[in-house]
């Protein structure tokens, strides 16, 4: 094990680490917003919205993440404007993950007892008000563990940015290994950087899940 690779190229590793983290956090925020909207679409009484929500989730969940990223990377340049690898990759990640988050949020909303909606509607709240003030705050507690899992997936999945030159950890690792000619050692350190992010998160999710289980 050659630790001089880690010390000599630490700034490159760190740049990649921030790229991965930034892309994952932005994609998490984006996918949470899109996912919430789609989840609400899927349970409204308006047929067209429900149909759209279902179509969106089914389509995205059945195609690979890399394809979604390629759509945002190659697609725009074919019609005249370009997105760089980081932007295209992050948008692709957000869109892909939003389908899974939508399903998690929908399951959370369904788990809130029906009486809650009926009670808030009878006390004069509109559907949207009831959703925002009554249902979603209760659903969110149940949704946190699956959201945490999706965030872990996001961090791991953000590695596809390297395939569109997205300045993430894997991307910088490639330039390090072409300089050092030591692929094995270089990528062991890459793995450590990923684990630094994912292991504490996995642990946190597990603790939260256990707490939920002991409550019910």
């Amino acid at each position: 094990m050659d630790f001089s690779i880690l010390t000599n190229y630490f700034d490159l590793y760190l740049r990649g680490f921030w790229g991965t983290l930034l892309s994952s956090v932005l994609a998490l925020i984006g996918s949470f917003v899109i996912g919430t909207v789609i989840a609400v679409f899927r349970i409204t009484t308006i047929k067209a919205l429900r149909w759209f929500g279902t179509g969106y989730v089914e389509f995205i969940r059945n195609i690979p993440l890399l394809l979604v990223v390629c759509i945002f990377y190659y697609g725009p340049s074919a019609i005249g404007f370009t997105l760089d690898g980081f932007k295209a990759g992050t948008i692709g990640l957000a869109v892909y993950t939003s389908a899974f988050i939508a399903e998690a949020i929908r399951a959370g909303i369904m788990a809130v007892p029906k009486g809650q909606m009926e009670a808030s509607r009878s006390s004069g709240l509109s559907y949207v008000q009831a959703m925002v003030h009554i249902i979603l705050p209760q659903a969110i507690k149940l949704v946190i563990p699956p959201l945490g899992n999706q965030f872990i997936n996001l961090i791991k999945n953000s590695s596809v940015l390297t395939l569109v030159a997205g300045f993430d950890l894997m991307y910088f690792a490639d330039s390090i290994s072409t300089e050092t000619y030591r692929t094995f050692d270089t990528y062991i350190f890459v793995a450590v950087f990923y684990l630094v992010l994912t292991v504490p998160l996995s642990y946190g999710v597990r603790v939260w899940e256990r707490r939920l289980q002991s409550k019910y």
């Binding site: 059945n62 890399l66 394809l67 990528y187 292991v199 996995s202």
Partner: protein, 216 residues
């Protein structure tokens, strides 16, 4: 957008070649990772001294790393320590290792969900602990596992696209080559590839829904 040019017979055949590799690699990896995943999952469930903690460590390690990193590592880093695998073998090995860790967790969770009373009853009626596992716990646990297993298989099929990083000639890889011919091919090819993945994965999810109805 040049649909006629993009969908020329030669291009379509080339894409089908890619789909063929995708399906073969996915099929072999599904079989292997299922076998390994069940064995590891049962070991984790059975709490064998030494072996179970080691498996726990390995499963957690692999689950917290990006698959893209594992594929790249198996193909390009392992040769440095003397493990040389061919292109397709490396892709299958990496996919199998990663998905087996995922499946092991599904299996362990499914087994843990079986009612404790079932085990106590089986043991008191004279079955050995192995017989209890084989005849009582596994058949009931499998029922809980079918939906998450199938979605894991769908993930695996989508994840084969990541093997494009080691230039495995699968669907995404071939699609990129065709898109490289002409800019006007980009959108038609992206649509066609999305359709191909969607059809295969949607069929898989339909099978899963069938199985769910049958087993529950």
């Amino acid at each position: 957008m040049d649909f006629a040019g993009a969908f020329s017979p030669a291009n379509l055949v080339f894409l089908m070649d890619g789909l063929y590799i995708t399906l073969i690699v996915a099929f072999v990896s599904i079989i292997l990772s299922f076998i390994i995943g069940v064995v590891v999952g049962v070991i984790r469930y059975a709490e064998v001294p030494v072996l179970s903690p080691v498996m726990f460590f390995l499963v957690e390690l692999i689950r917290n790393l990006p698959l893209l990193l594992i594929i790249f590592f198996v193909r390009f880093a392992l040769p440095e320590i003397g493990i040389k695998l061919g292109l397709i073998t490396a892709a299958i090995a990496a996919l199998t290792v990663f998905e087996a860790a995922m499946i092991a967790e599904i299996v362990r969770g499914g087994l843990a969900a079986v009612d404790k009373g079932q085990i106590e009853a089986a043991r008191s009626s004279g079955l050995s602990s192995f017989q209890t596992l084989w005849h009582i716990v596994l058949p009931q646990g499998l029922r809980h596992m079918v939906p998450p297993l199938v979605s894991q298989f769908i993930s695996l099929l989508k994840d084969t696209s990541l093997a494009t990083i080691v230039a495995l000639p699968e669907l995404m890889h071939n699609a990129k080559i065709v898109m490289g011919q002409k800019e006007s091919y980009t959108i038609p090819i992206l649509l066609m590839v999305a359709l191909m993945y969607f059809v295969v994965n949607y069929l898989l999810s339909l099978v899963s829904r069938r199985l769910e109805h049958k087993t529950v």
